[in-house]
Symmetry: C4
Subunit: 356 residues, 4 copies
């Protein structure tokens, strides 16, 4: 592994992760659907927005703290649910939850984690959220939600944009198969029926509908976050059903190509929601300035996906923390240079759309 002092931005970690990983796993991590246009555009679209620096404000002391669903976090970046992390590093989700605890932020544990949710809850800090994919039946789902509740997770994140397998051509070409040492730690007691099984042996996800969401809303008092919103109509409908937060996401361009970027989709959703729910964003965050742009356009915070995974690949929990701290330093520095002392002061006057 390259000397960690030489790693000064997230892209350094991406490059190093590509060196470290076997090609088929790198392609799993890096790839997107079909031509990967959306995957690349999530990143590139940030360049269309420019930050407007102000002068002569007192920025000796800066505040990067915020709250998400009432939880204080030190920096407006959460660790997104991703899976299978075990593929990336043997510490897998343990590194994710320990890093989040150490960094003072929220980790969102994936339903598809290698380690089971109870074990992760014990390994991590107080501020864990749980991301739900549904398997089996409503009864099984209900049982999972009870476990989440008992394990003291603070919110339930429902990913709604990845019920069906996508066409990821790099994986199709490499004939990628999940290694047997990567497990679905939360599904050990699931009865897998023929209907639940895909051709490749994996367990079929349960495709949720609006009525399922309503049922979940009634089944739990945990705050509910919907991850995978790209359309303001869906945002409004979800909030009407009592959802507490939304994550603008196109699943990192991994499910459907030729969709808008998340940063381009953010504003209309924020405007439509009018503050009735918190809005988060994920997709393409590689720089502190990307985070500030999302905040200026109305996001409460962002989720890091691939970016922290690069750190995980390179150096386990340490790597996750280093990536996070690089971005935190970039945010803090950019804030200083912008003449803004508190991230809460960022708004639409801090940014312009300036397509080159």
């Amino acid at each position: 592994v390259k000397n960690i002092e030489k790693m000064i931005n997230v892209n350094d970690y991406a490059e190093q992760a590509q060196v470290v990983l076997p090609p088929e796993i790198w392609n799993y991590l890096d790839g997107g659907a079909e031509d990967e246009w959306s995957r690349a555009n999530n990143n590139n679209a940030f360049n269309k927005y420019k930050l407007l620096p102000r002068i002569l404000n007192d920025v000796q002391e800066r505040s990067l703290t915020t709250t998400v669903l009432g939880t204080d976090i030190t920096t407006p970046m959460l660790l997104a649910p991703t899976s299978p992390l075990r593929l990336m590093h043997e510490e897998a989700e343990i590194a994710q939850v320990k890093a989040a605890d150490s960094l003072g932020t929220v980790a969102i544990c994936s339903m598809d984690s290698h380690y089971d949710l109870e074990y992760l809850a014990k390994s991590g800090g107080e501020n864990l959220w749980f991301q739900l994919y549904c398997y089996g039946s409503r009864n099984y789902m209900k049982e999972v939600i009870s476990r989440v509740n008992r394990a003291n997770y603070k919110a339930l994140v429902i990913t709604v944009d990845a019920f069906y397998p996508p066409r990821r051509e790099r994986m199709m070409r490499s004939g990628f198969v999940l290694p047997s040492n990567v497990e679905m730690g939360n599904l050990t007691n699931l009865e897998v029926t023929p209907e639940n099984r895909r051709n490749d042996g994996s367990v079929k996800r349960f495709a949720l509908t609006w009525s399922d969401l309503q049922w979940i809303r009634e089944a739990t008092s945990l705050p509910i976050v919907i991850k995978g919103i790209m359309h303001e109509e869906d945002a409004a409908k979800a909030v009407d059903l009592g959802v507490d937060a939304l994550v603008v996401s196109n699943h990192g361009g991994r499910q459907l190509d030729q969709v808008p970027s998340t940063i381009d989709s953010l504003s209309s959703i924020v405007r439509r929601i009018e503050g009735r729910a918190e809005v988060l964003l994920v997709g393409g965050i590689m720089r502190g300035t990307d985070v500030l742009k999302a905040l200026a356009l109305g996001a409460k915070a962002v989720l890091l996906g691939r970016s922290y995974v690069y750190g995980l690949v390179v150096d386990g929990q340490n790597g996750v923390e280093h990536v996070y701290n690089i971005l935190r330093d970039e945010i803090d520095n950019a804030l200083t240079q912008m003449g803004v002392s508190n991230i809460a002061d960022l708004n639409s006057s801090s940014i312009i759309y300036d397509k080159q």
Copy 2:
């Protein structure tokens, strides 16, 4: 030939077709007029449109079926008339009509086919359309239309954008000459006069005018489709004359360079026609998402041109079917990821214009 399981998208077939074909034939297939700007732009222009995914809809069952001129097809893609297919594979149009039958769609047989229309009608299924170029005289044309009728073709497609030879520079440079084993199967009984003959020995096409169209409209009760519409005024005029369907086409950028792409031209034509005729599109379809974009902008279905020919070149009828099935899988997957269960539900709210 590359292992067919390794062929996972249409571009794989294009690349393999280039390997398989002699350069001058590849250049015939791949090339366009002059600088080939329009030929390339037909493809690239699709990238300016983005699909807007929706969430939590029930898409367990999807419907890709539609009707064109009253005929049911399993997927909104027809096989366009192209010629000379014999140049591409010895099965030529036989592969086209058999594949269409097997796939449950319409094949449009070319006037310039190697095999005669009666033989193709016997080889293919029930849903064949016939594409007319006019040679000789009105009398000869009348006779051809009668044959088409007797052979039970379901519609008459009149191509109106290729009466005069274009300037295809790749072909000019290679000095391309049609090999003698490629025949004009439908012209065997045509008396070729000096006026009908071009310098290179080929038969001159009859350049149709609006009055010819009116004459054809009166001469047959078959549904008439005009292929080669790029201007809304022409669309309106054709519909006023009783045309049943229009194909937005610039002949694959093969006739005139520096024209708009077909996807960019579609919306204004759809708006102008106000449902008085069905609107189809051809040109640049390489992905299932391209098809969904055309449908969202108002096309009833699309025609595949070069894309199915790539399959024909590589593996005859099997190749045509595989290309078609790849696109069908892409459409089905994209529809699923978009949260749309029926292609009939696609409309202008499913798409945005987002030029990068």
Copy 3:
């Protein structure tokens, strides 16, 4: 020299001219001011305009003829004044005027020609125009205009955008000096005073002003054409002074970098003039479609500059004629494919602005 049958577009001639010419002369011909942005953009800007083909019109017979200042020409392309042509081919302006005569168009002879204007008038056909740069004094200028009149030139073209030497860096780097066998045939009787002489020994041009133009307008009854208009205000002012035609020109990007392209500048000038003078265009014409675009935007005809010079370099008068005929064939073919039978029918509905 490459086989002339292999030359199928103007770019072929450009490439061959680069092979044929010594580098410093190629750089003289090809280069522009400073970064050559404007020189390149004259060409590229045409790509922003798309032609809109129409269908089912009778285009069996096409007419490409038009008139410029009352003179019939077979094709809407004139041969621009360029100098020093002797640098490009020993036939120099003789090839230009003979080719124009043979092609049935107008050649505009340069004031800076190697051969004197009387000799050129005798060598060429009836339709010569004369391009004036002013040297010496008003008296000398008056004498030149009288000679032009006596030699039966049909119009006086006053180039107004090249009175001062530009910064052409390729030439500065090569230390280009005009060879001694290239003469200023029209200046043999000019008394060169110290004030008239530049540091490099060449004769200083007289920088005309609006009052000089008025003086010339009164001094001759020849039609006057102003070449070098880029601004509608100047167009209007010139027409108010009695000018008969305008040439939209930025001197091929050779005088000032970072100016608009001529095709982008055309429309506002045409609109402003409201038909009170004929409007021509020069700059970046490499394709027949470029010509049609200029006509659709309101130009009466275009001038060929570098493009015919490429032909001159490669094959003298023959080369000039071949380049011209290639463009004529492209125009004729494009007109046919557009469904337009007469260039007079091109107008703003034939074209759209569609920046990619």
Copy 4:
């Protein structure tokens, strides 16, 4: 060193400077913050503006002179404060002030100069301005301002966009450390306390606020220039406080990436100020046409930064003068070709925004 006669534009000097300098110093000079997008865009953004040439005006005599804060300068270009110039050439600021004197323009001496301000005042001409960074305390600042006043500097330029160290990754990678032979000539009598010292041993800058600006405004009768304005609100606020001139600057893209270019930011500031202060611009000037564009958009003059430093690196004072004279020649030539005889006549009708 390359023969100076071969250096014909500023880019030649940039290329030669890269050859001459050790890589880590070149990277210091050339680099910007993070991805260097803003650094590059300062240059590229000029290409979006096109100059509109006019004809037949009398431009035999041109005037490039103007005044800045009442001082006559021969050409609308000042020499910006940059540091540490000693890193670039041993003549350092001596070359800057002597060149300015010889060229008839203003040099702005940097607070961080190697030579002290009194020595520079004696070395240079009458038209020196002083750029202030604040160190130590208000008392120390007051003392510096008194020294500036006594040394007869004509204006006080307060740089407000570089109080905090930026993230310049090229420097972070090279581990750049200022060599010991580069001194802070103006700080010799500063008492450096632990609070004033950065980790790397350098002295911490005092971060000014609006109240500090008000205090300075009251503490001196020198004209005050604020350098680092990017937002019209800040421009208005500064002028309300009695500031005499503004420099639109993003510190050459060296402090914060992902900000607008200076040329794109100029117009809104000029409009907002309504002539109540002079507006200057710095950033990306590599051509005389860049200068004319800034003037046409309302700048009184521009500051040269990196461009004159390239000259300094290559050939000391001579190099600075040569770069300046190249740009002056380019301005004069462009003005001539535009048909404008006096830079004061440039205005918004001289330019169009024409994004390609």
